[in-house]
């Protein structure tokens, strides 16, 4: 899930990746998040704050763009 993948670049592809918040660094506006494949990354959360540990957020290019909500998740 990175630009070295010969078949898919998540950043170039306007992709949003659902990630689970593992820890929050409020002073720096960052959160440690876990992806579906178990990898971790530091994510900018200013656009979706406040978030809580355990929330699922949609991440693009290292920035969270939305919080995923359970009520609308399955239609």
């Amino acid at each position: 899930m990175n630009c070295e993948d010969p078949h898919h670049c998540v950043t170039c592809g306007d992709d949003g990746i659902p990630e689970r918040v593992v820890a929050i660094d409020e002073p720096r506006g960052l959160a440690l998040c876990e992806r579906e494949d178990g990898a971790h990354e530091s994510v900018e959360i200013m656009l979706v704050a406040p978030v809580a540990v355990g929330d699922t957020i949609l991440v693009h290019a290292g920035t969270a763009l939305a919080r995923l909500t359970g009520a609308e998740a399955v239609r």
Binding site: N2, C3, E4, P6, H7, H8, C9, T11, C12, G13, D14, D15, G16, P18, E36, S42, E44, M46, L47, V48, T56, L58, H60, A61, G62, T63, L65, A66, L68, T69, E72, A73, V74, R75
Partner: protein
């Protein structure tokens, strides 16, 4: 994973395919453009088009950030990369986009310091770690990516990172959609992640001015099938509305904080060139006056020369949905993902690369 697995459910996909068959009007040809390159990739990765009847045709829009970058802007990026002391950072696919004299990857091979990053924040980290070098971020992308660049520029300014700047090539989605709406039969699967930022409201003109339905869609196969069904139902019922299939992510009003940050950091260019589509008014972003000190185009001399696309390349017709990728003269022969001539063959979100990677060299299906 929650929010992913349920939208890849094969049984649900087959159920929706059956409903699409019931909803389509026999003999009526419906052309649906998926605006976003992410949709194109999913459609071919999961074989969504194989579940559709022949008279429901998916055409592929200009929503791949890499595919719409004109050659002249690649040349400008290479010129910046070749300035003494510069580290040019960019996303992975951008490194393989051909300019008039090769790619950024080839410029790197010739000695330029070009580095791939996953996010603009990574570029800022490189700037902080190399205070004696000028670090430039080659920014591309639609409204999905622009907030990330904007937040990084705000951080750079707040932290006083003077050796960081941005070569801004961000574009906006609505102007090219207007340019495409002259095509009479086109309906749209709307760009889900762009709408996460801008909301669904900016698409209302498609219904109001052109009397056509549009459905904002998620990116999993079930999402796309459901969106196609929603468009067919609107057509069948004579409705033209903006519907939001991707409610689990897209608020109708968008992300207001993201829009505020973008308004602070960016300003609209009077016009911007799109690969294959030409110059489109108010379709590109530059840094606002308040952030002009971080504008690489003002910090470095860039050639700014317009370069015509290679004659053999038919990316423009592919991006407008006029031809299918396999109908291009050089598809799969002179132009391949390993040696692309056109931008649509570079990124996996490009229609040509998606066709090539998933073996779509022709299309033969049964008419309903």
């Amino acid at each position: 994973m929650k929010y992913v697995d349920e939208f890849r459910d094969a049984a649900l996909g087959r159920l929706l395919a059956g409903e699409i068959l019931n909803a389509v009007e026999p003999g009526r040809h419906v052309k649906i453009m998926e605006v976003c390159g992410g949709h194109t990739h999913s459609i071919y990765k999961y074989g969504v088009d194989d579940l559709l009847p022949e008279n429901v045709e998916l055409v592929h829009g200009p929503g791949c950030p890499v595919c719409v970058i004109p050659m002249g802007r690649v040349d400008d990026g290479i010129a910046i990369a070749q300035e003494p002391g510069v580290i040019l950072t960019c996303f992975g696919d951008m490194m393989r986009v051909p300019g008039s004299d090769g790619t950024l990857l080839e410029a790197k091979a010739r000695g330029a310091d070009v580095r791939m990053v996953y996010s603009p924040l990574d570029a800022l980290r490189i700037a902080k770690a190399n205070p004696d070098r000028e670090v430039v971020f080659f920014a591309i992308g639609f409204e999905t990516t622009a907030p990330s660049t904007a937040l990084t520029l705000k951080r750079a300014k707040a932290e006083g990172v003077a050796n960081f700047s941005c070569f801004c090539n961000h574009v906006t989605i609505v102007p090219p959609l207007r340019a495409l709406l002259d095509s009479p039969d086109l309906r749209f699967v709307g760009p889900g992640h762009v709408c996460t930022v801008v909301g669904a409201r900016p698409l209302e003109f498609i219904c109001e001015d052109y009397n056509k339905p549009v459905v904002v869609s998620g990116f999993e196969p079930v999402d796309i099938l459901q969106s196609v069904l929603m468009i067919l139902r609107q057509l069948g019922e004579g409705r033209s509305e903006v519907e939001n299939q991707y409610k689990r992510v897209v608020p109708y009003e968008g992300n207001l904080r993201a829009l505020e940050v973008m308004a602070e950091v960016f300003a609209l260019r009077p016009h911007f060139e799109w690969r294959g589509l030409g110059f489109i008014s108010h379709s590109g972003l530059k840094l606002s006056d308040a952030y002009s000190d971080l504008d690489a185009e003002l910090r470095f001399a860039v050639p700014g020369v317009r370069v015509a696309d290679p004659k053999a390349c038919q990316c423009g017709e592919v991006l407008k949905g006029v031809i299918k990728p396999f109908e291009c003269k050089v598809f799969g022969s002179a132009c391949t993902p390993e040696r692309p001539i056109g931008t649509c063959m570079v990124s996996s979100e490009g229609a040509c690369a998606a066709y090539y990677n998933y073996g779509r060299f022709a299309r033969e299906r049964v008419v309903v």
